[in-house]
């Protein structure tokens, strides 16, 4: 499938230290990255310190950061971001592991189940948003009309201030649990069966096996799931935007949606400053978590 990028210049050169892992392998990807990502991103950081209408630029120093931190919705935004990020990652870890255990055990229709868990990953955020807005409609929606036949009055899901954020998080888990499950299935498959056989000889089973063999040995998978869903969860707003747009009022706003609204309102400098803040916050959370997860792994 690949057309090789032949560069005769390099093969001819043969410097004194000839490496079979040439640095120029970075070149094609690096070129794209630098030109289309790094340069524009660095350019935009400058605008974080300006009042910018896309055409006129006025340097305002730290003013944008002051304005950003005095946004009335920012407190809610921060709290919601943490709730959303940790709730979705938590659910994805627990449900993903549970599903993966189920789907690697002896089970009828295993192939079908493995496929179907991944289906929601294939639908776009807009498509999922439209579908769930209809399904979660407080009155005509399928979810509440089904609950009604069981005699339960369902909440107003996306339009109840108490429920809105949680409802979006549920949709996010529904859409994303397939990837977590897949990573866990792979992690479980990589555990050598000898461990379980040895445990069987020792008379251990069920819970003990899980606690002392499975859980420690799927730690790398857990690390991957936690990191990917945490970065995704803290930065996420596409699903929030497709369902509640941060509403009702500001009750399901997260930092990313506050920034997006500023961007839409034409406050380009301000929203760039917001992105810088978000970048720092996400990095400040993700790097320690990543360090923690990896360090424990080494200690084992």
């Amino acid at each position: 499938m690949a057309q090789a990028v032949i560069d005769p210049g390099v093969t001819k050169k043969r410097r004194s230290v000839r490496s079979i892992y040439p640095t120029w392998f970075y070149l094609p990807a690096g070129l794209l990255y630098v030109v289309l990502f790094a340069i524009p991103t660095f350019a935009s950081f400058y605008f974080a310190f300006t009042r910018w209408s896309l055409q006129d630029v006025e340097f305002t120093g730290m003013q944008n950061f002051i304005t950003f931190f005095s946004e009335p919705q920012l407190r809610t935004g921060f709290i919601n971001t943490f709730i959303y990020g940790f709730v979705t990652s938590g659910f994805k870890v627990v449900l993903g592991l549970a599903l993966a255990l189920l789907l690697t055990s002896q089970l009828i229709a295993r192939g079908y189940l493995r496929s179907v868990v991944f289906f929601p990953v294939l639908v776009s955020a807009i498509g999922v948003g439209i579908t769930f807005k209809v399904l979660m409609d407080p009155f005509d929606g399928l979810i509440n009309s089904s609950l009604a036949t069981l005699g339960i009055t369902g909440p107003a899901w996306l339009t109840d201030p108490q429920w809105a954020l949680f409802s979006v998080a549920l949709i996010d888990v529904w859409k994303g649990v397939g990837i977590a499950t897949l990573i866990y299935i792979a992690g479980l498959a990589a555990i050598p069966t000898e461990y379980y056989e040895a445990a069987k000889v020792d008379g251990a089973g069920g819970w003990k096996n899980f606690r002392h063999i499975t859980l420690p040995l799927v730690r790398p998978a857990t690390a991957t799931v936690v990191l990917l869903s945490l970065i995704g969860g803290l930065r996420s707003f596409d699903l929030i935007w497709a369902t509640t747009r941060g509403g009702p009022g500001f009750t399901s706003d997260v930092i990313a949606s506050v920034i997006y609204k500023q961007y839409q309102a034409g406050f380009y400098g301000l929203s760039t400053a917001g992105n810088v803040v978000l970048f720092i916050v996400v990095t400040a959370i993700v790097i320690p978590v990543s360090y923690l997860l990896n360090r424990r792994e080494v200690e084992r």
Binding site: Q55, T159, G246, G247, G249, Q264, A265, G266
Partner: protein
Amino acid sequence: MAVHKRRVLAAGFAATALAAVAACSGGGGGSGDGENVEITLLVQTGGTGPAWGEALIAAFNEEHPEITVTMNSQPGGTEGDNLVKTKLATGEMEDVFTYNTGSLLQAINPDQNLVDLSDQEWTDSLIEPFIPVVSTENGLYGAPNGTSQAGGILYNIPMYEELGLEVPTTWADFMANNDAIKAAGHTAIIQTYGDTWTSQLFVLGDFGNVAAQDPDWAEGYTANERRYAEQPALQSFLNQQEAYEGGYFNEDFASALFDDGLRMVATGEGAHYPILSGGVSTISQNYPDNIGDVGFFPLPAQEEDDTRATIWLPNAVYIPSTTEGEELEAAKLLVEFVNSPEGCRLQVELNVPAGPFATSLCELPADVPQATQDLQVWVDNELANPALEFVSPIKGPNLENITVQVGSGISTAEEGAALYDEDVIKQAQQLGLDGW
């Protein structure tokens, strides 16, 4: 840049054209040099935008076969606003594009980005209130596209007849009607916060009344001397809170959509829908049998003397300053055509008019909906004021979220008004206004 030769209007329509247009019409349809010019037209995907664009191009080409117009479409709303700014800043805007007038136009920096059209002849025919909303101190940039509309109450006429109600002109009368409707077991006020923008009408549609009480309010607001947290403007938020607390809203107000609201007021599921009167256009498409059942009255002020209709002026078509040379001449012809009687006919063919035209070159057809006729009475009696976004460049981005909070009891009117005052500061600073 000199005024280019005007092209003749197709004979069938020339009859209805004003003398001014007919007089300066040149010869046949072919252009002088016979060169084929290609220009692009940008429309919004929502509603009838693309259908209008296609009809416009077809009609325009009857007269100007030498100009090839390609249509592009893009989302409207806030995503669209952003895209317009991005395209202008990067020099990628289509040769002719539709966009808002008033405060949103000021935000795209017309002096720098748009072609001044004040030397065009059709500008003489614009109605007085329209001129400032497409102008800056340095020029006039847009030609009206569509008709004016009002922000106020669409109401169900059969329900009024059944309950023997009168159209209210004071807030107290309005609330009394609401009580009567509620007592009769109907939904008195329709709210549709599933489309958040619809929640702003209690505030935005009340501005005509604020301006009646304090004619300098808008100017003071721009100069940071008036606030929503103070009367008379605070009343708009208080009214919304009172309406919520009275329990008049439809059960599903938090999730219902604009479409649902129009259906309810058209079919009598609800009595009052505070909304833009342009909604009649959708009603005439989705519920053509009920279009005669929907009337209009302005949101009433506390005192009858202060009650005014609040008018939204039409959107406009613009030419970006990146369009030059023969493309610019062709683009000007297209803009002129939009404003010709034939162009106006196309505008109201797809969108049933919800109010008067903004140019004297065009006349409304005779069979306009009842709500439009109701509005016309207020306009004719000069009991109408333009909405705030047409008299002040300041509009905070979060008003719709704030009014959802006030209208759902999440926050009080005072809190909402104070929050909105804070919200507009960013906008004023971004525009670089004095006094902020």
